[in-house]
Symmetry: C2
Subunit: 352 residues, 2 copies
């Protein structure tokens, strides 16, 4: 973790190898951290050192979303807490059909955190923000005593512009209709298993890489292709099963999912068997379900494939019907049905 | 702390006396917490259970601000982490002349937190939001393992409408002018000392109550009275001294502060002497500095007094001149000058 940044390493990293309580105290050290690390990387933005960033918004239909990130460990195959904090919030905006415009970033740092770790996370955030075209415009830094945090917690709050046509019904559970196809943009379970692999020190033969990715370009692609998107939802905490339950309840309709249509990587399935986990309940960070009219499925799959990495295949996994109201039915390979319930306990804590 | 809510105590409080990891897991327990505690108190809002709230904004000049709150202890005379989280973010919007409209709330809860404590904080947040007329529209809940947090951390991010006249220079350090009066809306040091009093178990004879308060009505009052507000800044972390240093540097001008003009309550001064602290560096949560043309001082004081509680008196504490550039001079009672520096270390950690 230490080789990549020696050239551009900012001064606070050199002078203070660890985060001190004073880095959150409002004085000289905090300003140094902001001016020498955050502002050069994130850009002065519209905020600078003001209490709030002032923005001219390009429209009046806006979206606001917030997420705190407490993933453990901070680094995992395919990303770190910083990439997660950008992509996760960007994705929440995308899920209501909003183009991500601005982000705020709130750090809660634990006293003693290696400054180098913060620096790597900050760089990853900027890279992720740049990749998706979102601007980090304001921020906040707090430091808590040793033993009262776990390295880094990050809150990102996002403001986006709703681009879905105003004359169409909103992209929301209430717009889901009987007959809609349930399309998923790829296989499930990678993120949670990538985290578990590092956390438990499990090898699983090959490294499973998180699917953590921004979803806005896929959503934008669907909208631009004229696909009537009724509802979108990313398959994060609680995985596919909990997300679909949430939506079935909100829409008061019944969903049928064909088990054989849900893609699960061989290695993910193997790891789940070892760990006694069900891939349908594992969190993803780059997967979403789209509810679209059945006649537009081909076009949607084409668009999604065009925005996917080559190893990820979108799939129609099910459809919407009247019954059982508010519930999700899983149809097995041999045609037997069972209810797919919402997760009750905590299958994998702190995966985002 | 336990008497006030038994009547309306929501079900999760009764069923789960403590926060479990599963309350942040994306499953049934998390939804229960949201549906039975957060939504009924904060209101379904535009967000409901969607990933993002969609909002129609009443204008295009908007402000965005974020703050995380990690105050210890969670409850103190005059407020708790919840009131602080609402007022602090509302105040950051007010400081750029923006009417607070919408807030997001992100909780990071520690496993084992008494559910009753969360309930009290949630109620306090709603009360504070209602008092200032801001809507909580979206949120997030994460739970971290026992020993990896400190009860409750809260991030609030605020969206406001900039109401300052667009033809005027923005309310910002760059708009500060030579000759401006520096007006403070009240005495300093109450919040930090209120926190210290609880934390250290000090009596100080009488209880010192935090000045934690929303500042929007005062700012609105100044703007509506036609006061040309050049810059505003709340006197939080680092206190009056650090805040003025920050602004002097940003404006590249010199500030003179008359020590005798800065109000400090008798008990606050006494507590500071016992603790070896300087009240000018103590954090406030309901005080701000306003930079205004000298000829408008009387009107400004009148407006500020009208919005203050009876025991709080606004005061002109100094003025702006060319030199010493980027620095703050403190003029003592006997007329001697010394530089008032920005705080270097951490005088009082985790006061907000």
């Amino acid at each position: 973790m230490s080789q990549t940044f020696s050239l551009n390493c900012p001064l606070p990293v050199q002078r203070y190898p660890q985060v001190l309580l004073a880095h959150g105290g409002g004085g000289r050290l905090m300003h140094q951290l902001i001016e020498e690390m955050f502002l050069p990387v994130f850009g002065g933005g519209a905020g600078g050192l003001q209490d709030a960033a002032t923005l001219v918004l390009p429209g009046q239909r806006m979206a606001l979303t917030t997420d705190s990130y407490v993933v453990s460990p901070l680094f995992f195959p395919g990303g770190n807490i910083g990439t997660l904090a950008i992509n996760g919030t960007v994705n929440d905006l995308a899920m209501v059909g909003a183009r991500p415009l601005y982000l705020s970033v709130g750090f809660i740092l634990e006293e003693g955190l290696p400054m180098e770790t913060l620096w790597q996370v900050v760089q990853a955030m900027q890279q992720a923000a740049q990749d998706v075209g979102v601007k980090i415009v304001t921020g906040d830094t707090k430091v808590v005593d040793r033993g009262k945090g776990d390295g880094i917690y990050i809150n990102t709050t996002g403001v986006g512009l709703v681009v879905a046509a105003p004359e169409r019904p909103p992209i929301a559970p209430a717009s889901i209709q009987v007959g809609d196809a349930i399309v998923i943009n790829g296989d499930v379970g990678r993120h949670g298993i990538a985290i578990m692999g590092v956390r438990e020190g499990l090898g699983f033969g090959t490294t499973i890489v998180s699917d953590c990715a921004p979803l806005w370009s896929s959503v934008q692609g669907l909208l631009e292709a004229g696909v009537e998107v009724h509802c979108l939802r990313d398959l994060t905490r609680g995985g596919l099963a909990s997300t679909l339950n949430e939506l079935a309840q909100a829409a008061d309709l019944g969903f049928v999912v064909e088990e054989t249509q849900v893609g699960v990587l061989e290695q993910v399935r193997g790891a789940c068997e070892i760990l006694g986990l069900d891939p349908l309940y594992i969190a993803n960070e780059g997967r979403f379900a789209a509810f679209i009219p059945a006649h537009q499925v081909d076009r949607a799959l084409e668009v999604l494939q065009a925005h996917n990495p080559p190893d990820t295949v979108p799939q129609v996994v099910g459809w919407v019907q009247e019954a059982p109201q508010g519930q999700v039915v899983l149809r097995s390979q041999v045609g037997t049905d069972r209810l797919l319930e919402m997760i009750t306990g905590e299958q994998l804590p702190r995966i985002c």
